[in-house]
Symmetry: C3
Subunit: 179 residues, 3 copies
């Protein structure tokens, strides 16, 4: 079994698509995020103390714009893709996430890892994310100690300020039980 | 010097092989790990306070099943491969690891980085890992403070429970001196 | 739009070039770093409390040899490349960094993320880095607590010792204000 040049090109484009996704969420680049999904994209993120379920590109963009807000310090790095071409214009992908999410207001920090299972479709203007879900592998929650100085915070300038945010509770269920 | 399409296909397959390795250790997927190594695989992991040396796929699988147990929170991310095709059916690879390993029982955390040097062989059913070794670049050991909540822990459900584990001391030497 | 085999080969070589850069800085491999840049390379690293601006390969190598010294514990991982071929022999690249830099002497730790924008040129002996700049996304500064044990420290043996270091202040401006 060998990949053809056409398949290698597809793998390259699909990887770059997901790379753009991670860069754009952490920089609240909602305009570019709008180019990455199919209109009927579906999401199911199963975290340790939350679950995000939604469908539709407009809902997803609104959810991301509210999540990566001006009080958030966010790092989401997707690693080690395993892409499978499942048809001429479809593919699936496994990625391994490392993430850190700090709320500046209350200095809560959530950090951990997760494994994504995605589906991609080739559309008229290139590959798009059609479905994305993940399960947590590890997740830790703590508070930044007082001796930690925040010396760079990109989203403070570009993320939505409190008065710009809207209620996202219809997309998130919170699970207060921890194990 | 240019890579041929055949070589690019080999590089893609070797990368994915190692990606599967990292995903499978952190999720204790011993069945899939069994597909990734040559029967006579050799291992030499030189950590800061441990060294793991062993040979043979069965020994390696037993070592991994015992290491990624139900008390372990593990994240092993292999980055930035430099793959060299050394023959028609052989290759070597350099990878740069980031890892976190937490023992839930005593809340000890080992975190750091290491550089791998691997060898790969093309077998009847695809590329396999024939040798893997690493040297530590940085390694820190501490204990999780009491205010850290563990909110996801995948291995708790799928890793070997205490009564299922066996003695691995023949594969590990402990170096209590730290520098 | 599809990548040709020649383009895929270029992408592979450019990725590996940058992978070598990250491995070599954290291991103070100045000899190999000398192979990675054009003679007139330009650098602009905009951190949270520092900015590094310089030009010329010799200046860059001297800066790196002084920065990755025997008191430094360093981890620099470049992720999720987005490479654009901008001409027959030129390319640009976006990378997403995670880094940790600990000074062993005063136990200061700087950790965070940044987004690189690079330019690459194909030279007689392969692709080289012609320009590299980054902006911070998040940056945290704290001190290692006393209960953290350093159990591996590669640069302690290979990095420049205090008496070997030279003054780099002409390349760095420090910004003491944090936000």
């Amino acid at each position: 079994m060998m990949y053809s040049p056409e398949q290698l090109s597809d793998l390259e484009q699909i990887r770059t698509l997901k790379h753009r996704y991670f860069r754009c969420i952490d920089t609240a680049n909602i305009a570019e995020l709008g180019e990455l999904f199919t209109p009927d994209v579906t999401i199911d993120y199963r975290g340790g103390h939350y679950r995000v379920s939604l469908s539709g590109r407009e809902n997803l963009l609104e959810f991301l714009a509210n999540s990566f807000h001006s009080d958030a310090l966010a790092m989401h790095h997707g690693h080690m893709p395993e892409i499978r071409l499942t048809g001429a214009d479809s593919a699936s992908g496994t990625w391994y996430l490392e993430d850190v999410f700090i709320s500046r207001t209350d200095r809560t920090r959530v950090s951990g890892s997760a494994i994504y299972t995605d589906r991609y479709l080739r559309c008229a203007d290139g590959w798009r994310i059609a479905h994305s879900e993940y399960d947590r592998i590890i997740e830790l929650v703590d508070r930044l100690s007082d001796d930690v100085t925040i010396s760079s915070h990109y989203l403070r300038d570009v993320g939505r300020r409190p008065e710009q945010r809207s209620d996202m509770s219809r997309f998130i269920s919170w699970n207060v039980s921890t194990r």
